[in-house]
Symmetry: C2
Subunit: 282 residues, 2 copies
């Protein structure tokens, strides 16, 4: 018996489309419903096996769903959730894949209609490509999915959301929304800003012979500016903090290099290597 | 008929070992001789098909060689080259794979014994792993190899070095030593420093749930500190210049974020994306 009778995915881009494909592949939902503004996207999602049924009618899409997954850009999640929750049935769950969590969880968790529970989530997976054509049934394989409960979170709903993700990812981790946004500021948003700066700092003439290390360190700059601009600004304060933490290390290393303090510089590199070697690559 | 009768590779680590394997695979040299201080490395190199003959005797290794390739760490190349050149035959070529070129070319090009020509080179390939066990016949496939002639470079020797690399890499490019070191400061040395800073800026508790983007942006921090410390300090001035160029972009983006200048921030991201999208990934 599938884990869910009816799951509705709102937004059929890379994240939502890939989730649909993974749910279908693992037979975790009897019916996957897709909601999109664009009929062509619904047709493509159906052709790619990401959804069973597609609709452009929001009320129709979520009525009868046991779980509704919001997979639209981060700054659309709050208004979307409010609009959709009105049509959801008692006992159903609303959750999301948004890249920042403080605002979304604060805005939604305690404003749901009676009987509807909101649970914040964020699977750490992605690619610079967008849209249903880039969707991949294996996008979430081995990934970490963070769920962000608070003292107000409905525990049964939280467990159901964890049950949904557990078969699809490598590990499900609980964090407070604040812990999540702080961690992601350092480990995701900051790297994206660095990649953009690195591209902007290079002389055009050097790009045609760029070393492989440069291509690797700037791949994130291919990400969609509209999507990431929203993420950065919804996490503005914590991202500024992460940038300043980086700046302190940066200035320290620059001073060692400028001052020809080789032993200190080498120790700093060695410490970074030890720390990085301890992180498991997949 | 092979391109070279006898090629000697000095240093059988990742770079030298991989070159030997590629030369053998493509039958570009009748005999590949390996020089290493460590007999066990010579045995491993032979077992891996990187060399035909191995020796720990420097004079013996280079005597009779048509081309000698220095593939030892960047700060050992100058003294090694001077020691070895004395034993090389007239008409032979000494070249290297060192990651910085100004000092090496300046020190060596005009100080070779009569009849021996030095040509600076640098194939843009590598990995964070070291040693003959990490060597790979395909390490250089598709890579860019930079050769760094000056007005003093023997043109026939330059063409021979280009002939050696051309079948092994994707593209051979000529640059002056200064152009090379400036370009690599921005596109290789700077990214390595950034990766180390990014690791050092992260809170330890965030590392266990680090997003894939963080792992990608810090992989370079796994590089060997001794090797890279040498590279950074032999290119100290130009690397400081590249770091300062990065700092200007960094401060500009930080100011846009702090000042909530969203339109400017988004334009900067979009410009970085356009630039990065134009770089071909392999």
């Amino acid at each position: 018996m599938p884990l869910f009778n009816r799951v509705t995915i709102v937004g059929l881009g890379l994240m939502g489309g890939s989730l649909g494909m993974a749910l279908k592949r693992r037979r975790l939902a009897k019916t996957v419903v897709g909601l999109s503004r664009t009929p062509a996207t619904l047709r493509r999602a159906k052709r790619r096996g990401a959804i069973d049924v597609g609709t452009t009618d929001a009320a129709h899409a979520v009525r009868g769903a046991d779980l509704v997954m919001l997979a639209t850009p981060v700054d659309t999640i709050i208004p979307q959730a409010r609009r959709l929750a009105r049509h959801m049935k008692p006992g159903s769950i609303l959750t999301d894949v948004g890249s920042t969590k403080i605002r979304i969880v604060a805005a939604l968790e305690r404003s749901m209609p009676t009987g509807v529970a909101f649970v914040g989530g964020h699977p750490l997976a992605g690619a610079e490509a967008r849209g249903i054509e880039a969707a991949d049934a294996h996008l979430y394989d081995g990934a970490i999915c963070i769920v962000t409960p608070t003292p107000h979170t409905n525990r049964a709903a939280l467990r159901r959301v964890e049950q949904l993700w557990r078969p699809l990812v490598g590990r499900v981790v609980r964090m407070s929304p604040r812990e999540h946004d702080r961690a992601l500021a350092s480990t995701s948003h900051l790297p994206h800003v660095l990649a953009a700066c690195l591209v902007r700092a290079a002389r055009p003439r050097d790009l045609s012979t760029a070393a492989p290390s440069f291509r690797e360190m700037t791949r994130l700059a291919k990400s969609d500016p509209d999507l990431w601009d929203d993420i950065f600004f919804t996490n503005q304060r914590l991202l500024l903090g992460a940038m300043d933490q980086f700046s302190r290390q940066w200035r320290a290393l620059r001073a060692m290099l400028a001052g020809s303090r080789r032993a200190a510089f080498r120790r700093a590199l060695a410490q970074a290597k030890r720390t990085r070697d301890a992180i498991q690559d997949r």
